[in-house]
C-alpha cells in the first residue's frame, strides 16, 4: 500500500489544532514557571469547554429530578428559614433584622465551603481525561469554579425572596460587592490549583479541609453578627481570613461599612494564597498526572 501523505478525501475533514511541545526533565524554575503560565493561558482559551463541563456537572447532579438544580434553592431556603427562626429567638434579635442577614451569609458561605471542598477533587475527578489527552489543568480549575458559581446563581433566589418578604433592598453601594466577587474568583482559582494538586498527592486532605471549614463556619460571623462580639472582638475579626473575604462581598450588599483592615486583610490573605498556590502548582504541574 502507498502511505505517502496526500490530500484527504472528504470523510475526515476536521483538522486538529497545531501544537508544539518542548518538555525536559531538568527544567529550571523559570522554565517551569513559563510552563505553568502556558497552562493557565491554554486553559483560559478553552473557557467554552470549562463552561460546558461546569453546566454538565450541575445537570447530571440533578438529572431525573423534576426541579433540577432548583432543589439547591429549595434546600437552602428551608435551611435559612428554619435557622433564621431558631437563632433570632436564641439571640433575641428581630427576625426582620436577622433573616436577610442570615440568608445572604448562609448562601455566600455555602458557596465558599462547597468551592473549597470540591477544589480537592478538581483533578482526581478528571482522571480519565487527564490520562488520555494533554489538556491544561486550568480547564478543570475553571470547571470547578463555574460549577459552584452556577449553584450560587440558583441560591440567589433565596436571598431575593427573603429580601422581598421583608422589603429590605440593598442600595447602590451594593455595586461595591463586585470587586469583592472578583477577589473570590481569583482566590477560587488559586484554591482549585493548590488543593486539586495537593489532594491528588495526599488522599486524606479532603476530610481535613472539610473539618477546617466546619470550624471556620462557627468562628466566622455567618449565623451570628459581628457586632455581637463587642468592639474588641471586632478588631480581632480582621485576623480571620474567612471573615475578611466574606465581608468584602456581604458588607456592601447589607449596606454596612467595611473597615479598611477588612479589605487590607482580604488582599493580604489573597496574595499569600496565590503565592502558595502558584509555588506549588509550578512544581506539581508535571507530576499531577502521575498522582491521580
Amino acid at each position: 500500500m502507498e502511505y505517502a501523505p496526500r490530500d484527504m478525501s472528504s470523510a475526515v475533514t476536521t483538522i486538529a489544532p497545531a501544537m508544539e511541545l518542548n518538555l525536559r526533565a531538568d527544567m529550571t524554575l523559570a522554565v517551569r514557571n513559563r510552563a505553568a503560565m502556558a497552562d493557565l493561558a491554554g486553559g483560559a482559551r478553552l473557557w467554552r469547554l470549562a463552561w460546558a463541563l461546569g453546566w454538565l456537572d450541575i445537570r447530571l447532579r440533578y438529572r431525573g429530578s423534576m426541579l433540577g438544580p432548583f432543589w439547591l434553592t429549595i434546600s437552602t431556603g428551608v435551611m435559612v428559614g428554619s435557622l433564621g427562626l431558631l437563632y433570632s429567638t436564641l439571640f433575641k434579635i428581630n427576625v426582620r433584622d436577622y433573616l436577610p442577614f442570615l440568608a445572604l451569609s448562609q448562601v455566600l458561605w455555602g458557596f465558599l465551603a462547597a468551592l473549597v471542598s470540591e477544589a480537592c477533587t478538581t483533578f482526581t475527578d478528571a482522571e480519565g481525561v487527564i490520562r488520555s489527552v494533554r489538556m491544561p489543568f486550568f480547564v478543570f480549575s475553571m470547571r470547578t469554579l463555574i460549577r459552584n458559581a452556577i449553584a450560587l446563581g440558583h441560591n440567589i433566589a433565596v436571598i431575593i425572596v427573603v429580601f422581598a418578604v421583608f422589603s429590605v433592598w440593598p442600595g447602590w453601594e451594593a455595586v461595591m460587592a463586585i470587586p469583592g466577587l472578583l477577589v473570590w474568583v481569583l482566590d477560587g482559582l488559586a484554591l482549585t490549583l493548590l488543593l486539586g494538586a495537593f489532594c491528588a498527592r495526599f488522599r486524606d486532605i479532603q476530610p481535613i479541609v472539610n473539618s477546617v471549614m466546619q470550624i471556620a463556619f462557627f468562628m466566622t460571623p455567618v449565623i451570628w453578627k459581628p457586632d455581637q462580639l463587642g468592639a474588641s472582638g471586632i478588631e480581632k475579626l480582621a485576623l480571620n481570613p474567612f471573615f475578611d473575604l466574606l465581608e468584602i462581598v456581604r458588607g456592601p450588599i447589607l449596606g454596612s461599612n467595611i473597615a479598611g483592615t477588612t479589605w487590607l486583610g482580604a488582599i493580604v490573605y489573597s496574595v499569600v494564597l496565590w503565592a502558595i498556590s502558584w509555588a506549588f502548582f509550578v512544581r506539581a504541574r508535571g507530576r499531577v498526572t502521575f498522582w491521580i
Binding site: 500500500m1 502507498e2 502511505y3 505517502a4 501523505p5 496526500r6 484527504m8 478525501s9 470523510a11 475526515v12 475533514t13 476536521t14 483538522i15 486538529a16 489544532p17 497545531a18 501544537m19 508544539e20 511541545l21 518542548n22 518538555l23 525536559r24 526533565a25 482559551r45 478553552l46 467554552r48 469547554l49 460546558a52 454538565l56 447530571l60 438529572r63 480519565g128 481525561v129 487527564i130 490520562r131 488520555s132 489527552v133 494533554r134 489538556m135 498527592r201 495526599f202 488522599r203 486524606d204 486532605i205 481535613i208 508535571g286 507530576r287 498526572t289 502521575f290 498522582w291
Partner: protein
C-alpha cells in the same frame, strides 16, 4: 500546518512512583517526618521504571510500529509522545498537530445524547464554533446513529457506543497520529468500515505511531518498528527486520486446552 511534523525523544525515562498505604496519607508523612523517619521513607519509595533511556527521532513520512509484550511500555511511550506523561529524565520535542487515540470513550458521557457528545468533543479539541456543524455531520454520518443521535448514549447498544466513540476519535485529522491497539477491535462489518476510515486518516498523517500486538497490522501499516521490553528498546529499525527478530524471540503460545 506549514512546519514539518517532528518527534524527537532524547534519553527519556519515565518512573512511576508507587504510592500505597501510608505514602498517600499526609498525616502519616507528617508523623514520620516528626519522628525522623521521612528521609528513610523517601529512599525506600518504590518506583517502577516504565521507560528507560528511550531515544527516538521521527520525521514527516515515518510510520512507526511499537511491539512488545504486555507491560513493555508501549502505551506509556504513546502517552509520553502525546505530552500526557512529562519525562522524569531526558527531553521530548513534538512539533505538529497531534491526535492520540488512547481511550475509546474519552470524555464521552453516557447521560448526554450523541449530538451533545459530539459537540463536547469539539470543545475538548478546542475547535472553533464554526467547525462544529461539520464535525457533527461527519460523526453522525459515520456512526450511523440516525434517530438515536438525539437520545442519551446510555440507551445505545454496545455496538453503537463503539461506533460513536470511534467516529469521534477519528473525526479530528492530525499531523501526528498516535494509536493504541484497542482501535482495531470491533465486530466484523464495522471493522471493515473502520479500517477504511483509519487508513484514510493514517495516510493523511505525517507521522504515525501505532502500538499493536498484531504483527500483521504493523507489517502492513508501518515502515519502521520499535521493539520494547520492560521499558527498554530492544530493537529499532525497518519493520520487516525487527518483526522477524521479535517473532523469533517470542515462544510459540501453547494452545489452551479446555480440561
Amino acid at each position: 500546518m506549514t512546519a514539518n511534523a517532528l518527534i524527537h525523544v532524547e534519553d527519556v525515562s519515565v518512573l512511576f512512583p508507587l504510592y500505597h498505604g501510608s505514602s498517600r496519607s499526609l498525616k502519616k508523612m507528617v508523623v514520620a517526618a516528626a519522628s525522623g523517619r521521612l528521609a528513610q521513607d523517601q529512599q525506600q519509595r518504590v518506583v517502577v521504571r516504565a521507560l528507560s533511556n528511550i531515544n527516538l527521532r521521527l520525521e514527516s513520512g515515518d510510520r512507526l510500529g511499537l511491539v512488545g509484550s504486555n507491560g513493555a511500555g508501549k502505551t506509556t511511550l504513546l502517552r509520553v509522545l502525546a505530552g500526557i506523561y512529562e519525562p522524569v529524565l531526558g527531553r521530548l520535542r513534538v512539533r505538529g498537530s497531534l491526535n492520540a487515540l488512547l481511550d475509546p470513550n474519552l470524555g464521552m458521557n453516557m447521560e448526554l445524547t450523541g449530538r451533545e457528545n459530539i459537540l463536547l468533543r469539539g470543545l475538548y479539541n478546542g475547535l472553533p464554533r464554526s467547525a462544529l456543524p461539520r464535525l457533527e455531520e461527519d460523526v453522525a454520518d459515520f456512526a450511523e446513529l440516525s434517530d438515536f443521535l438525539d437520545l442519551p448514549v446510555r440507551i445505545y447498544s454496545a455496538g453503537m457506543v463503539v461506533r460513536l466513540g470511534f467516529a469521534l476519535a477519528t473525526a479530528i485529522k492530525p499531523q501526528i497520529l498516535l494509536m493504541d491497539e484497542w482501535f482495531l477491535a470491533g465486530d466484523a462489518t464495522f471493522l471493515e468500515k473502520a479500517r477504511n476510515r483509519l487508513e484514510e486518516m493514517v495516510r493523511g498523517a505525517d507521522i504515525l505511531v501505532l502500538s499493536s500486538h498484531s504483527v500483521e497490522i504493523i507489517r502492513s501499516w508501518c515502515s519502521r518498528a520499535l521493539w520494547l521490553d520492560q521499558g527498554h528498546i530492544v530493537a529499532d529499525g525497518p519493520a520487516g527486520e525487527v518483526l522477524d527478530r521479535y517473532l523469533g524471540s517470542v515462544p510459540v503460545q501453547p494452545v489452551a486446552v479446555l480440561a
